[in-house]
Amino acid sequence: MWPAILTLTVLALAAGLGLGFAARKLPANRSELVERVNDLLPQTQCAQCGYPGCRPYAAAIVEDVEAVNLCPPGGNDTVQRLADLLGRPESPPLATGPAAPAVAVIDESLCIGCTYCRAACPVDAIVGAHQFMHTVIEQECTGCELCVAPCPVDCISMRAT
């Protein structure tokens, strides 16, 4: 009888430890892993990675095994954290080097009120109406530079913070 009890106890302990470890350390499913990857990204929504925002990039990292070194605003710290989370220790560092933090500034004397930049801003940090001067809400600007190219009069510049 004793060997049977011992075997069952050992089995139960091993299973319990294994399950406990899995529940603590491994993400429950893919969508949760995407969330955790997304949490590590800087949320600038700058699309420099080639995806239309941080979440789509996070999804691509998880689903399509996209490289983790495509995010210049996050810097090499983010690359490292992503590599640690996903267990890809051989990830190369950023190809372009980290981006310095900056905010967009509209030269209000040149602005013609075309609303193109407003439409381009991924975080709604530009206010202004058609034919009226626009301005950037500095606290909300992520420095993604997506508003710079659409401006027809080149009145938007980036200022380092």
Partner: protein, 505 residues
């Protein structure tokens, strides 16, 4: 005098040190009044929170007590003119602050007349005002915590009013060596402190107020006891606490006085206590009873580099050089200028810095008591024995060097009060406190970054949702129009075509 030694079993405080006091040098003279200087330099950021917004323009004449800058955010305090004169500049000036060596200041060229504004009609006595009105009035007085943290008093009280409180604790511990400004204030103006305490008890509707004083200040204890018996207020209780550094830390004081422990990451209000410095209580009295906002404070100018160490009541904004001259000037051996005490103060390189609301001490030393070259940690554990917050400084220093944010948090770095006890006992002379300050700043930075990213993420998601909704609405509208056209049928369309033909003709 023997060097600092760890003290144990002293009341309810863990760790701490008995330090050479060096207080008698500056307490032999009564509080002296410094003259109004030629120039006042008033930083707009003299308090915790956001800098105040200047409301005067260059060239404007201002009177003593006039509002110069008002709080721009939820957390802040106004700045008042300390004397009458002309605003000549609003410009960066060297300061001794935690945020940097230079800060924007309002510079006033004093006219020497020290004219006050028209006295406002006698304000209603505070006892007839509701608590919220008293707090509003305290806010307008520019009063901040004078113990050193300069947290705006009104906001602290407003927060406290929303908590369940049992005790008010007035902090007269003044445990740091050299500093004696609170001691002198308690000796000479005990009645103002008692009056301020009664205002605070009224504003917070409390039944018990402790005034805690270290046992090495018998004169202050006597003066306070006399003032309290004069006032005859039974809500106030005088408490003598052991002389041990850092008994004057807010959380440590609460523990010594009430036996309650402030939880990690919490405030004294979480232990049912509100702590205010005795100087703050006196400032509240001066403002509510005498109508004088916080435009002057008592500061200790001392050290072996000063000819006549003393306590000075000086206008906020007076350059430190002027105060030093008033105290007999520097001695030949003066080498180092520290704003604040020897444990928590800040070395500055110039005496052009002004006296601000936080300046409780101006310390001029002939030599910095440096221990020696830094050596590797030998894990002796002395730092853990003296830590009043019961942290493990040696372990924290390890994690601070490798920037391990998670472990630093888990080991309670954010609870470190930067008292400097661990530095002093470390046989390897490791600058522990300095490393903790840097690591704390780094953690705060990461937190800010995280909060910013979180906000950006929410805005991005909200925008995507909005774009999708707009798209859907457009499609629905199009479908509706198609449906209408289909319902009307070909006859109606022909009718419309005919009508438009007729209009053209």
């Amino acid at each position: 005098m023997p060097g600092p030694a760890a003290t144990y079993d002293l009341g309810k405080l863990h760790g701490g040190l008995r330090l050479p006091a060096h207080k008698s040098e500056s307490t032999s003279l009564p509080i002296q009044s410094a003259p109004v200087p030629e120039q006042l330099i008033l930083p707009i950021d003299q308090h915790a929170g956001e800098p105040a917004q200047p409301v005067v323009s260059i060239g404007e004449r201002v009177l003593k007590g006039q509002l110069l800058a008002e709080p721009a955010a939820m957390l802040g305090a106004p700045v008042h003119a300390s004397s009458s004169g002309t605003v000549v500049a609003v410009e960066p000036w060297p300061v001794a602050s935690r945020h940097g060596d230079v800060a924007p200041c309002i510079v006033i060229e004093c006219d020497g007349e020290d004219r006050a504004g028209e006295p406002k009609e006698r304000a209603t006595p505070y006892t007839e005002l509701p608590a919220t009105a008293v707090l509003q009035q305290i806010l307008r007085g520019g009063i901040v915590g004078l113990g050193g943290a300069v947290y705006p008093t009104a906001q602290k009280l407003m927060h406290a009013a929303s908590c369940e409180l049992d005790y008010l604790v007035l902090n007269g511990a003044e445990c740091e060596p050299y500093i004696s400004c609170d001691d002198m204030l308690m000796r000479e103006r005990a009645e103002a402190i008692v009056s301020g305490a009664r205002i605070l008890l009224h504003a917070l509707a409390l039944d018990t107020g402790y005034i805690a004083v270290e046992s090495d200040k018998p004169d202050a204890l006597r003066a306070l006891a006399a003032a309290m018996s004069d006032a005859g207020d039974e809500r106030l209780v005088l408490k003598q606490i052991p002389t041990i550094y850092p008994s004057g830390g807010e959380d440590q004081l609460v523990q010594l006085v009430t036996g309650r422990e402030v939880p990690t990451g919490g405030l004294p209000t979480d232990a049912g206590c509100l702590v205010q410095n005795v100087g703050t209580a006196a400032a509240i009295h001066d403002w509510l009873q005498d109508g004088e906002p916080l435009i002057s404070r008592i500061t200790t100018i001392t050290g072996d580099g000063i000819a006549t160490p003393m306590n000075v009541r000086a206008r906020i904004g007076t350059p430190v050089a002027d105060i030093a001259r008033f105290a007999g000037g520097y001695t030949g051996s003066a080498k180092h200028l520290v704003i604040g005490g020897p444990m928590t103060g800040r070395s500055v390189s110039t005496d052009r810095v002004p006296l601000v609301k936080a300046t409780n001490c101006i310390l001029v030393l002939s030599e910095v008591p440096a221990g020696g070259p830094e050596l590797p940690c030998i894990r002796c554990g002395d730092c853990a024995a003296v830590c009043p917050v019961q942290l493990q400084p040696q372990q924290l220093a390890w994690y601070a060097r490798v920037d391990n944010e998670g472990e630093l948090r888990r080991h309670g770095l954010t609870d470190c009060i930067e008292c400097g006890c661990c530095d002093l006992v470390c046989p390897s002379h490791i600058p522990l406190t300095h490393e903790f300050r840097v690591a704390k700043a780094r953690i705060r930075e990461l937190e800010d970054e995280k909060a910013r990213a979180e906000r950006a993420r929410r805005r991005y998601e909200a925008r995507n949702e909005r774009l999708q909704r707009e798209q859907r609405e457009r499609e629905e509208e199009l479908a509706r129009q198609k449906e209408r056209a289909r319902k009307a049928g070909p006859d109606a369309i022909a009718e419309i075509m005919k009508r438009s033909q007729r209009d053209e003709d």
